[in-house]
Amino acid sequence: MSEWKPICLVTDIPVLGSRRVARAQGPNVAIFRNSEDKVFALLDRCPHKGGPLSQGIVFGDAVACPLHNWTIGLADGCARGADEGCTQPFQLKVDQGMVHLDAEELATLAINVALPKAGPGASTGAVGDRTFEVQAPHTP
């Protein structure tokens, strides 16, 4: 028996837009609303390079990832066109205008998926700044 957690009203999500849902553990879940007021939930992580799908442009029943413009189907989380890969979809229920997510899915699905890293150390793998000893050329 699944437990449905209320998240927000459908109207709290912009039309052709999305909201991010922070979980106790694991990456965010993105909830989307299309022009027909249908609502969808996916892991907020593109199967390509982990871009936050919640930040993409929503059209029809798909979203374009903001990083490299992959098109991801909102219903199944899978890439369209020539690209291949899927992100985790989440069950979702709308009851009297209120969006609900499944508590068990939120607590268990895609908890250990890694998110992309950026910043110092992200390209080399070394974390943090490195320092260099500089010797002035004129010291005896």
């Binding site: 849902v21 979980r23 020539a82 910043g119």
Partner: protein, 814 residues
């Protein structure tokens, strides 16, 4: 519901591509039956030449194996030639009596080789060059016999001759015209080609009129061919004669069943035959607006359109293609397009180095490139072809035209210009890290034919596009695709057939004010567009109707929706505006405090004389903006970004003008200006030009007597030096002319087109006419820009006015 029946006659590339497109969009609409006269599944006919030359095998050129037909439930009749169609009962009848009923019929019978009515044309050893069987006959003959004669020195004939020679035969090419490939090359290039092929071992008989083929029995009238006889009585020995005198659309069936044929089966823009609405036709057999195409790209274009109509979507029109030619003989580079012969009223630019084996000819009429013919160096073929298609004036680049686009400067692929010389591990596309090997593999394995398809599958040349020429060469070598045929008009995206210009015009003429309004008025195929057209339409609306059309944040890319640059880990970066690149201790202190307070990991000085705070969490953006208290730098937007300045006459001992003040004035007058793409200015105080004004959208350089204005420079993928535009006296004039130029670009530019591309498209003369020759027009442009910018909000502080949806900054929690 019972499925409809679709029968296809012909099992070749254009027809099967149409089925593939149809199955993609309407997989369950039809029970499909295919008749093929050959006993093979669909294969890549273009690659018969490499097979003949021993460079590929027959298995490698199969496009759709038998399993493909089975997987899609297609009933396949191979080796059965269709001989009749009963149009009133809607039944297709084949040679062996097989009958199939249809609701819709697709005729894709391709073309037949043209065999001149010579005595002896039916002798053994006389063949055409069209299909796998012909190819096998040639391969067998090459193993047994010595002398081959190819009749016809066109594209196909030369490929056949080259293949037979590589298989060890002594080959003579007989050609009726004074030079080879006379329909694709001029006399100079044709003769260079001949010389190059002669050095490989081919023999040529030019201006030669064949009279008869002589057999070895019954006084030369029967048996196997042994010689070719000419009108002047001379003979050459021949154990194999390949007739390659051209192809003709195969309309035998269509004519028999009463379909209108005129140089092919006549079809309309939906590929429906004009005679019978249940019958469609695509490929080399179809005549569209009087043209039967013989190249792959236009035929696939036809297939795509035809499929949408078979699927009953009722959308899409085929409006014709322009084509160009390349020869598939490894090691020989030639290219031609358009009217390369020139003639009355035409001018020619010619570069000829007969010893080096390089020849280029460009034909120009009314200041436009109308034809090109090249031998030995064809790297710029696609560029010339583009100029030709766009029909733009070339006055301003005329002096550089001959040296090609590759001469103007490329980055990202180490200056490679010959794909054949590259190793498999060499990188072709520097943006997306795609190697030659990856591209070739994708082309082979996924059966790609067009540049668009390669971009979709590998991303190569999909970002900056500077390696497009290389990718096209790879397509050429690997698939033999005539990649360079292109639709006459480029649609904005898959949602519509309309071009950017048509959408701009409609918005202006019909006073459309909303995105939905545009989609309805122009018949969009999708309910709310896609991530490509919606931002463009949104920009066209707000730039055409300022203060009337409402900006739609959900139709903007994330950076313009959150007013910061998204980074690869989903954090953002913040670049505040520093007028003319000047800052103060107070500003720097506030920035430093924010860096500490919000744990911002990286602080970087940008190339545009500003400071970038990288790695800000989306939740912190609003507070960071507030704490810093500086205006938005719009570093995330298609808008005015930086105005780079040197220190100028205030401090510099060489400075002649106060460039810093000029830069600040320009920036204050034009910040918040959205444009088709980003816009950068620079102002230098003297000709030493320390602000690097020569590579900016607008560059201003101070001289003793005033200011020089430069436009449409670019420091990006292709470094483009700005054009000198005008010399001005006062700072007021600099503002007016700069504003007018920006407004013209805002009103006429296509979305994502930088000023350099816009000016290349419309021509510098057009811009000069609008701004320099028309003072009233210039003032009106400047006024329209000021009207647009008046009262524009700063999106970092005026959320309501800038329609910033602040809900995005706070995540929901569970």
């Amino acid at each position: 519901m019972k499925k409809m029946k679709l029968v296809m006659v012909g099992n070749g590339m254009a027809g099967v591509r149409t089925l593939e497109e149809l199955l993609k969009i309407a997989p369950d609409l039809y029970d499909i039956t295919v008749f093929g006269a050959e006993p093979h599944p669909n294969y890549n006919r273009i690659l018969l030449s490499p097979v003949l030359a021993g460079e590929q095998t027959l298995d490698e050129i199969v496009l759709n194996p038998m399993s493909w037909y089975e997987d899609h439930g297609i009933k396949l009749h191979l080796g059965k030639k269709v001989v009749d169609v009963n149009r009133s009962k809607r039944i297709v009848i084949s040679e062996d009596g097989t009958e199939e009923a249809y609701d819709r019929l697709l005729i894709a019978t391709g073309s037949n080789p043209f065999i001149p009515p010579l005595p002896g044309k039916d002798l053994d050893g006389v063949i055409a060059y069209r299909d796998i069987q012909d190819t096998n006959t040639m391969i067998d003959a090459a193993a047994k016999y010595k002398h081959a004669v190819v009749v016809g020195g066109g594209l196909l004939g030369l490929e056949a001759a080259n293949g037979l020679m590589l298989r060890g035969m002594q080959v003579s090419v007989v050609h009726i015209a004074p030079w080879l490939m006379e329909r694709q090359l001029d006399d100079v290039a044709g003769k260079l080609l001949q010389r190059s092929l002669e050095s490989r071992g081919l023999k040529f008989l030019m201006n030669a009129q064949t009279q008869a083929l002589i057999g070895d029995q019954d006084e030369g009238k029967a048996g196997r061919v042994m010689a070719v006889q000419f009108k002047d009585g001379t003979e050459v020995p021949a154990d194999l004669v390949v007739m390659a005198a051209g192809i003709r659309p195969n309309t035998a069936l269509a004519e028999k069943i009463g379909l209108l044929c005129a140089r092919g089966i006549v079809v309309n823009d939906t590929l429906q035959t004009v005679t019978d609405p249940r019958i469609y036709s695509v490929g080399e057999c179809a005549a569209h607006r009087g043209i039967a195409y013989g190249l792959v790209a236009p035929l696939f274009e036809q297939g795509k359109v035809c499929a949408t109509h078979l699927a009953e979507f009722g959308i899409g029109r085929y409006i014709g293609s322009q084509t160009s030619t390349k020869l598939k003989v490894t090691g020989i580079d030639l290219f031609s397009a358009g009217d390369f012969m020139g003639g009355e009223g035409c001018e020619e630019i010619v570069m000829s180095d007969p010893y080096g084996g390089v020849y280029k000819k460009l034909v120009i009429r009314d200041d436009k490139l109308i034809g090109a013919c090249m031998f030995g160096d064809t790297v710029d073929g696609s560029w010339y072809f583009k100029l030709l298609r766009e029909g733009r004036k070339i006055t301003d680049i005329r002096d550089k035209l001959m040296f090609g686009e590759s001469n103007i400067g490329d980055t990202g692929h180490e200056g490679h210009s010959k794909a054949a010389a590259m190793a498999d591990s060499d990188e072709v596309c520097g943006c997306n890290g795609v190697t030659k090997g990856t591209i070739c593999k994708a082309i082979k394995e996924k059966g790609l034919f067009t540049l668009e398809e390669v971009r979709k599958h590998t991303k190569a040349s999909g970002s900056c596009g500077s390696c497009t020429g290389l990718v096209e060469q790879l397509l050429m070598f690997t698939a033999g695709g005539d990649y360079s045929a292109a639709p006459k008009k480029k649609a904005m995206c898959g949602c519509t057939d309309h071009s950017h210009q048509e959408v701009r015009d409609a918005i202006k003429e019909q006073k459309l004010l909303t995105i939905d309004g545009v989609y309805q008025a122009m018949g969009w195929r999708t309910p709310n567009g896609c991530s490509s057209c919606r931002p463009a339409v949104n920009y066209y609306l707000i730039s055409s109707w300022p203060k009337e059309a409402k900006d739609d944040p959900q139709s903007r890319y994330i950076n313009e929706r959150s007013h910061a640059n998204i980074r690869k880990d989903g954090t953002y970066s913040v670049i505040p505006r520093m007028w003319g690149g000047e800052t103060t201790a107070d500003e720097l202190r506030r920035i430093a405090n924010a860096v500490d307070k919000y744990n911002i990991p990286t602080v970087k000085v940008t190339g545009g004389q500003r400071i970038d705070l990288l790695g800000v969490k989306k939740e912190d953006l609003v507070n960071v903006w507030k704490d810093i208290g500086m205006p938005s730098g719009h570093a995330y937007a298609k808008a005015l970004r930086t105005v780079k300045t040197c220190v100028g006459s205030e401090w510099c001992r060489f400075g002649t003008q106060d460039s810093t003040q000029m830069g600040k004035d320009l920036e204050r007058a034009m910040w918040r200006m959205y444009a088709p793409h980003k816009v950068k200015f620079a102002v230098s105080g003297c000709p030493r030009n320390c602000a690097e004004a020569g590579i900016k959208d607008v560059g201003i350089i101070g001289v003793d007597s005033g200011w020089e204005m430069y436009v449409a420079g670019n420091g990006g993928i292709k470094t483009e030096v700005a054009h000198f535009f005008v010399k001005l006296k006062t700072a007021e004039e600099v503002l007016e002319y700069t504003g007018a130029f920006c407004q013209l670009y805002r009103e006429e530019g296509w979305y994502l087109e930088r000023t350099v591309h816009y000016v290349n498209r419309v021509g510098l003369d057009h811009v000069k006419k609008k701004i320099l020759d028309d003072p009233a027009g210039r003032k009106a442009l400047w006024e329209r820009l000021q009207f647009s910018l008046d009262g524009e909000p700063d999106p970092w502080f005026e959320f309501d006015k800038a329609s910033v949806d602040t809900r995005q900054f706070t995540p929901l929690s569970v």
